[in-house]
Each structure stands twice: as structure tokens, then as C-alpha cells.
Symmetry: C2
Subunit: 167 residues, 2 copies
């Protein structure tokens, strides 16, 4: 079991750190991919080491894709490598967990058609424009996709994410 997180500077700190620590608690290896390898800094000032550059990631090596929010997803969706990674997880029906602004990457990757999805309220129109059915709920699970709205939803988000990857 190996997890991949994709993020960038200006991530929402708890939306990256809480899932990271939760996966590590279960002794699950987590790689963090960013535009380049090296430190990224959250909106609240936490620094995290990205140990992969997006372009060098082999998505076949991972069993879970986790997309934190903040301002990072709006930067990441401009990069074809990020969209291709997301596409791989949907083609292979592997679990994808996205919170807050994280679903912006999925909307840009055009993988939300017909999916039930939640996200931060300001992103609702974007996921609907991508063909998703937006609902305002702490966590929504539809097939391989787990979505939540804000940091306060992290307990429900991780409850469903851990359930999805439990052997």
C-alpha cells in the first residue's frame, strides 16, 4: 500500500498534514509530488518536503491519490502531468480522496462526469460545469471517489478514506 499526495505552495496546511500523519500512523508510505522536488509552504506557514516532481511520478506505483486543498489545486490544474495522474486513478478505479479545492484538479482532468461530489462551496459551480452532481455534505463517496468540503470535515473524510484502502 502506497499513497500519493499532489500539492504545491499555498496548500491548506491541515488538509495536507492531517491525512499525511493519518496514513503514516497506519505505516502507509506516502510520496508528496509537487511541481518540483523540494519544500512547499502552506497558507499557514507549515513547510513540507515534496519528495517527487510531478513529471517523474509513475502513478502505477500508488494505491491512493489524495488531493489537499488551499490555493495549490488552482496552480496544479495548469499542468498536464497533474491531470494525467488524476486520469490514471479513475481509469484504474483506484481510490481518489479530494478535499476543499482539491476537486478543481479533477474538474480540469474531466473525470467528474456523472459523479456525486462535494467540495468547498466556492468550487461548486466548477465541479457542476465538469458534469458532477454537487452536494453539500461533510463527505461524499461515489465509486472510487471520496470528497469533502473543509478542514472541519477531515474526521469524516479520513474515516471514509481509510475505509476505502483497508485490505
Amino acid at each position: 500500500m502506497k499513497a500519493l499526495m499532489i500539492s504545491a505552495d499555498r496548500f491548506e496546511d491541515t488538509e495536507l498534514l492531517v491525512p499525511l500523519y493519518r496514513l503514516q500512523e497506519e505505516r502507509i508510505a506516502v510520496d508528496i509530488a509537487a511541481l518540483q522536488e523540494g519544500p512547499i509552504t502552506g497558507l499557514h506557514g507549515y513547510r513540507v518536503a515534496a519528495n517527487r516532481a510531478l513529471e517523474n511520478v509513475d502513478p502505477a506505483a500508488y494505491d491512493l491519490l489524495l488531493l489537499p486543498g488551499g490555493k495549490a489545486p488552482a496552480a496544479l490544474r495548469e499542468h498536464a502531468a497533474a491531470l494525467a495522474l488524476a486520469g490514471h486513478f479513475f481509469e484504474e478505479r483506484k481510490p481518489v480522496a479530494a478535499i476543499c479545492h482539491g476537486p478543481q484538479i479533477l474538474a480540469a482532468a474531466d473525470v467528474l462526469q456523472g459523479m456525486q461530489v462535494t467540495c468547498v462551496a466556492s468550487v461548486a459551480a466548477e465541479v457542476e460545469a465538469a458534469g458532477a452532481d454537487y452536494v453539500d455534505r461533510e463527505v461524499v463517496v461515489d465509486a472510487n471517489l471520496i470528497t469533502s468540503r473543509t478542514p472541519d470535515d477531515l474526521p469524516a473524510f479520513l474515516r471514509e478514506t481509510m475505509r476505502a484502502i483497508r485490505p
Copy 2:
């Protein structure tokens, strides 16, 4: 199962939020006690609602005491109510989990005599002066007490904390 966290302004944000969300993931009720009821603000700017004032807390109502770090413990240890709460958990041998500067409260409450403990390096001399055996390790479990050093230890800290309270 009910958990109590004691904190104050200038808490280390992840050391409060990551355990809070982890406990809530397990549907464990968590009360947060501070010097007074109302919002407290972390070193990185996160605001959390303290729903109890220290003086009104009945420690018998709780099965776990969790002490985040940051600058909060140095303020809390000046208050007899915080020390009495800590004392109760040791008398009753109920689980206590303290991270980073959190053990400062336990040192002031004089409950560390003969205990093996870790904490942030800058607090090592204080816990030793209180009679503890300080070790530099990601997590230390001694009887009812679980201690860790820094936010990066949160996965190990929560692995042991969840183990201690699992029915």
C-alpha cells in the same frame, strides 16, 4: 469514551488539530478546556473553540487527557485547576498523552517521578528536574503515559494513543 484536551492561546496548531480530528474520526467526543470558554488561537493562526473553562471541568467525565504543545502549556501550568486535572488522571491511572511542550504541565503537577518520558528537547531538563527519566524517541509509553517530541512524531503518538484507548 470521552476525551479532554487542555490548551490555551499559542498552541502548536497541528498538535491540537491532528489529535482532535483523529479522535473525532473514531466518533469519540472531545471537549477542549482553556482558561475560559471561547476561541483560542494557535501559533500558526488556526482558531479552535474551547467549549469548557478549566475551572468547570469534571475530570471524572473523561477517559483520556491529551496535552498539545506550543506556548500554551507554559501558561496553563500557572493554574492550579490544570495541575489538579492532570493529577486526577494519574491517580485514576487513566491514559494521558502529551506532546512537545505538553509535558511541562505534568512536570508542574509533580506526576512524573520515576516515569520514562520524552518531550521537545528544550523541555528535557524540566522533566528531569521533576524526576522523570528523559529519552529521545518518537514516542514513549510508560504505564498510563504516552509522550512524543514534535509534530513529526504525531503518527507514532496517535498510534500509541489510539491503542491505549481501544476497548
